[in-house]
């Protein structure tokens, strides 16, 4: 049930994000979700794409520093309190969140949140036990 996320190291200078998206476009890779975390000198671009392995290879071949990590995609009702319910489960079980980002649409009446947690297997087990919908990689890539 894990989702592969691609992370790319970017210096904070103009044209870097353009370069990444150009490579992905040329390789016919479609971006499903993205987020950027930045500091004063660098940023980390995190991507969910339709073909993670291919994207990883292509970016690496173009000289980017890339890593592939496992994240969890959680589907929740797109309504007030939807995220709060998931967070309550996380909190109750001391699942430490490294970062998260969300995207809406595509799933009927649902929102998707991507979580990066320390202990992914444990998190998956608990979320499923609590009846929270966790999407598979294949499902997310093909959204």
């Amino acid at each position: 049930m894990k989702v592969k996320q691609i992370s790319v190291f970017l210096e904070n200078k103009s044209g870097r994000l353009a370069a990444v998206t150009r490579v992905l476009g040329e390789e016919d890779i479609n971006i499903r979700a993205l987020s950027i975390a930045d500091t004063s000198d660098f940023g980390i671009l995190r991507l969910i794409v339709n073909q993670p392995e291919k994207a990883y290879r292509a970016l690496k071949d173009h000289g980017f520093t890339v890593s592939m990590t496992d994240v969890i995609a959680v589907e929740m009702p797109d309504q007030p309190g939807g995220l709060a319910e998931v967070m309550a489960v996380m909190e109750e079980h001391n699942l430490n969140i490294e970062y998260l980002y969300a995207f809406i649409g595509k799933v009927p009446n649902g929102a998707l949140v991507i979580f990066r947690v320390e202990n992914i297997d444990e998190a998956l087990k608990i979320l499923e036990e609590k009846g929270i919908t966790v999407l598979s990689g294949e499902k997310v890539y093909s959204l």
Partner: protein
């Protein structure tokens, strides 16, 4: 004004006689007491008795920092440790430190040379000398200190740092002579301005600045901001410390105290001596040092020698202010920095060959060092916190190795220029 007119203004012929006599004694002592020198001289087929004129100096082998390292710690000493009363040393982060020793007489000579240097800048026993050179293993602080005491001036051993307090003390204690690195002098001036202390609140008349290369423009800037005449002092611990040469108010090159050191300029590649007036690598032979005689020590500093007498009356040969280095050593805020030191820190952290670049700039009056490191796949993490921890770790390791603050920036791979031959590790943007 001279401290020791007899030697500072000695007729050339007489000075050269004295040099030859002292050179012979030094070579004799080095040959008999330092196995390293004996071996090198034997390899070249030279005996001490072959030194019959000052020109014969050329027959002797060179000494480098490497020789000091290979004989670490005391192998180059020409006296037993029981006669050594002081030890100074470099930080030794490029490998083994360079250890230098002084006998009681060596300290005496050093104090004499520093007394001459300070007097060159107008110091008398009535002066208050604000000594902001670092005290410790570095030779700057104690060198000035003993010279000031020799003159009988009042020395304030303030050392570096705590700049606001320095300004307050300069003002309240009526410091008349400032000794520090030129970049620190500019920083003092800036802080003074911020504190609202005006130049006319100070009694400074002369600044004696060294331990890093500086330019005529920097002199003008210092003199504009501080009420003093700024003079250049030169020295290096391997030779004795500060006080090897000193500029007089004519500002026409630095007088080398030739009754203790014989200077030469060589072509750093062919190692052939160059004539007066030509720039090349500065080489010194000490002719009175007891604990650590140096024969033809290659300083790596680039300068030129001038023989014409100076209008100040000193007959000593003058050297041009140091204009650069023959190796890749950087001097940042008075601290010697070799790119290899940074490389070894990065190697330890990354366990693989790092690509890095050093950017040196002067912000305001202070030198800054930025270390750009290419982030490799192995170092990369998708968590910002981890990357910031990595930057901090590199920064802390470099700072503890070099003793200066640096900025570490992670950059993308392949963004640092590669070169076919020797990597260009340093971009020096300073205009000095």
């Amino acid at each position: 004004m001279y401290w020791n007119e007899k030697y500072e203004c000695m007729p050339r012929e007489q000075l050269e006689e004295l040099q030859l006599e002292r050179l012979k004694a030094t070579v004799e002592r080095a040959y008999h007491n330092v196995p390293h020198y004996r071996r090198l001289m034997q390899e070249k087929g030279i005996e001490p008795s072959d030194i019959q004129s000052l020109e014969d100096l050329r027959k002797l082998p060179f000494t480098t920092k490497n020789d000091l390292r290979e004989n670490y710690p005391y192998g180059m000493f020409a006296v037993p440790l029981s006669e050594v009363v002081r030890i100074h040393s470099s930080s030794g982060t490029t490998g083994k430190p360079t250890v230098v020793g002084y006998t009681r007489n060596d300290l005496n000579v050093w104090a004499e040379l520093m007394a001459r240097s300070l007097t060159c800048g107008g110091a008398t026993k009535n002066d208050v000398i604000h000594n902001a050179y670092g005290y410790g293993l570095f030779t700057g602080g104690l060198g000035v200190h003993y010279g000031a005491e020799r003159i009988g001036a009042s020395v304030i051993p303030i050392s570096g740092g705590n700049t606001k307090r320095q300004v307050m003390i300069m003002k309240d204690y009526g410091s008349t002579i400032l000794t520090c690195t030129p970049s620190y002098a500019l920083y003092l001036a800036e802080v003074m301005e911020e504190m609202g202390v005006r130049p006319e609140d100070l009694k400074l008349k002369c600044g004696i600045f060294g331990a890093e290369p500086w330019s005529e423009n920097m002199r003008k800037e210092i003199e504009k901001k501080l009420p003093l005449i700024a003079l250049d002092i030169y020295g290096l611990s391997e030779i004795i410390g500060p006080g090897v040469a000193m500029e007089c108010p004519e500002k026409n090159g630095l007088h080398i105290f030739e009754d203790h050191f014989i200077p030469e300029i060589i072509d750093p590649v062919t190692e052939e001596p160059l004539p007066y007036g030509q720039f090349g690598e500065l080489v010194f032979t000490t002719i009175t040092k007891e604990a650590l005689p140096m024969i033809r020590y290659r300083t790596r500093d680039i300068s030129a020698l001038y023989k014409e007498p100076c209008s100040c009356g000193r007959t000593l040969v003058r050297m041009a202010r140091v204009s650069g280095r023959t190796d890749d050593m950087l001097i940042i805020r008075g601290v010697n920095v070799f790119p290899s030191q940074i490389e070894s820190v990065l190697l330890e952290i990354g366990e693989t060959e790092p690509h890095y670049q050093l950017i040196v700039q002067r912000e305001g009056s202070l030198d800054t060092l930025e270390v750009q490191v290419e982030v490799s796949e192995r170092l990369f993490s998708d968590k910002v916190r981890r990357l910031e921890e990595l930057e901090n770790k590199i920064r802390a390791e470099i700072e503890s190795t070099l003793g200066i603050t640096v900025k570490v920036t992670l950059v993308e791979p392949k963004t640092i220029q590669r070169s076919e031959g020797k990597a260009k590790r340093v971009i020096d943007k300073r205009r000095i």
